[in-house]
Subunit: 342 residues, 3 copies
């Protein structure tokens, strides 16, 4: 690859000490890095320990020049080494995990009525149905399915085996990981004496721009309108989003969380792993539903909730601590009852 | 499309007021509907508010004729507007999401020994293995897999990427959403000093008629006999059903629930989202296991359970309420101890 | 098939009573078995009841000869009938669920730079990318994806629709069930004023030998190094393993469990169904995290934890029991307060 310590210095807008021509082939945590690796140091206090590291090039915070004077490789001193490291990873990624080339693989099945930009990639055994649109620079990976009338936005990336059902919309620069399903039917029935008749699900799913969807997620289409995931929201693996849900912008929804029908989630909210939100709930902007928490009523903006039935975090932690003392409380009560002759 | 207000009136067995020739292109919630939309009003008390709505055609309960006298579009007065709306949605669905045509896509790989009815649809890149049977009017979507000796029943619908492993049986009119896996191996090992040897899983999965399975579900084959899902049972996304489980008829099993090995669930039971049932448990008919509830012992018919360890609902809600008062209870106890000099 | 009672006797290193030539076509639980079935009896105390069973051949513990004197079929008396039954199931499996043949299906898309052993099977519509390696006797099922530079080990089995992303390593004799995803991106972002920028995920996933992965699991690649699953570990359906996680050897991880980023799990640990482990946690060797348990701090070797917030099992069960008495405790407190005039 063609990334040198000199390139890193430019990228990081930093000051290079050492050999600008050192070539870097990968990135690694500081304690594991070898001569071919780029590494970074975030905490100035760790600089003395870092001086013995073997990385070929180290991104370090300004002010650690003295502490790192014995470091053998190249060092780039910069304001935010962590951020610069991420920028370098992006360059590395382009080499290690290149974008597939433009064009349609001969084994893909693309409807004549689909509109696929020449710059897009359609992988082997992918299927693109009638009237679907695949925009400029999008990647539809191997064995993906793009349903009738769906739209895959500019530079969106669908990893292998993603299924976009008919009529759904994937925004620009979205990333969908393998096995994700977008636009499965919502779970809607009318039930009469225990017989459940399916209510047709005629809506769609809309992912706004820069949404990321984890592997094997399932996001249901709305009954009539749209299940909506706001711009910049990032969803982890195996998450379930039910029909008619509306999620705001820049939310984080962690693995195995589930959100039931017609619930709305405000901008910037965090729904942590294995959390579950009931249907028809409102979660306010910037609220945090902690891991494994169950939510059965509305959540105010900014609230942080925890517990099998979610409570405000401080209260939940207090209850949790007292649960450990419940046996002791029970013994004390018995003692008091005996004392009082109750 | 060819659905008019007159058609709706016939379908609803209702009385039409207004222009029978109004064409409807879609359906929408009442407050969002425009002139091209069908909408419905369920609650007569909301009729005055509904009079200003802009739907092209409104399904309304009998008795609201006066309250809706200023409504500008066509109105169909009928006994059960919600049900009539669902019937109309079914007609709309046929237009908006048509069944794929009969026949086998040239890119599908169908074994010469498989028996596929000419009326069935086998989609692009689907694979149908030896001795499999695909019955009259069934749809095997793009990229689906139908294993050796499996049977896909009459008018069953497999959305793209469904995998039916060998020897499994899918009943008539079943609907399987994208990515669902039917017939993966049960999780069975004999363990000796921490080394786990796989017990072959030689049974199958049987879905009776009209079962629906959500996206990315996983339903394991039995060790020897059959994992069974009873007729009319509807399963939501990302549900796990372990080997040897037997689920009754017309159950509802909501997203991300999990049922461990050899458990039986009675007819008409509801297992809500993220609930978990241990192995070798009996859940009675019409029991309800509420969301996120854990079940570690048998559940009587009709019982409604809630909690991290499931308790009868009323008791669970009482415990839940008292948990919030646990800090106060603890303070009171301290006070009493001081008072009594304990 | 060619399995006779005589074959079973040899396999079980047991003593045969009855007709060695009885042919067995399947295996069944003792109470359901018919003349064509092999069955087994584990508990000598049940032998009298078993005498009336109709199995064609019965594996029974030594010492039950007298109690089974009226059993009509062949009996093989052996030391460990359950284990012998499992060995017989393995033979049956070879007939009922044969390995696919060596060779590449003409519809598979295999890169010229991939190295596929002639003894390996590449199924229909499978995709094997550049520089991937598929070793001796491996089975890459229909519609599987093997990414660039990945390695599928000797005799590994990938069921249909498994996705191995680029650069991942699957050990010898691993079994991956349908829809499993190995090597999706870890969930890593740097967040600034609620805008989340993706941190490239440049690591890989390594499954050591004899690992089993359930249907529709998702196992993320490390950010820089490897997400590691130790040899002999068995993972059930719909499990989520985040980036940088390291799991020891011979662990059992049951359905729908989730393990967050950078957590390590020791050898022989059991993580039960729907359990959730926070990030950067250490779980000791042979620890047991019971079903639905949440873990937010390190777990010592051998500890058994249970609860929404995991506590040592005995304590958790005591707390659980006292929760049921919380209403009574609250009433008693009120009574005491009244008595004391508080």
């Amino acid at each position: 690859m063609n990334l040198t310590a000199g390139d890193i210095a430019k990228l990081a807008e930093g000051d290079l000490r050492g050999d600008a021509s050192v070539r870097l082939f990968a990135a690694a945590p500081l304690d594991k890095a070898c001569e071919a690796d780029l590494a970074f140091l975030a905490d100035p206090a760790m600089a003395p320990a870092a001086a013995a590291a073997r990385a070929g090039c180290l991104l370090a915070p300004r002010g650690t020049e003295e502490a790192l004077k014995d470091f053998r490789g190249a060092v780039v001193f910069t304001k935010n080494p962590r951020y610069a490291f991420m920028l370098a990873l992006r360059l590395l990624e382009k080499e290690l995990r290149p974008q597939p080339p433009a064009g349609t693989h001969p084994s893909a099945i693309v409807s004549p009525s689909a509109k696929v930009e020449p710059s897009a990639h359609i992988g082997p055994c992918a299927v693109v149905e009638d009237d679907a649109v695949v925009a400029y620079g999008a990647v539809v990976g191997a064995q993906c399915y793009v349903g009738r009338g769906s739209r895959v936005g500019r530079a969106a990336r669908l990893y292998p085996g993603v299924r976009i059902m008919d009529g759904c919309e994937i925004g620009a620069e979205c990333i969908l990981h393998a096995g994700a399903v977008i636009g499965s039917d919502g779970y809607g029935y009318t039930s009469d004496r225990n017989v459940h008749e399916k209510i047709p699900q005629l809506g769609k799913v809309v992912l706004e721009d820069r949404v990321e969807i984890g592997a094997n997620c399932a996001i249901d289409r709305a009954a009539l309108e749209a299940t909506l995931i706001g711009a910049g929201t990032k969803i982890d693996n195996l998450v379930h989003i039910a029909h008619n849900v509306r999620i705001g912008k820049n939310c984080l929804i962690i693995a195995q969380a589930g959100i039931a029908g017609s619930t709305t989630v405000g901008d910037g909210a965090i729904i942590a792993g294995q959390a579950g939100i009931s249907d028809h709930i409102k979660i306010g902007d910037n609220a945090v539903v902690m891991a494994k928490t169950g939510i059965m009523s509305d959540v105010e903006p900014g609230q942080v909730l925890f517990g099998h039935v979610g409570r405000p975090r401080v209260q939940a932690m207090k209850v949790e601590a007292l649960l450990s003392r419940l046996p002791e409380m029970h013994r004390t009560l018995s003692k008091i009852k005996r004392r009082l002759g109750i």
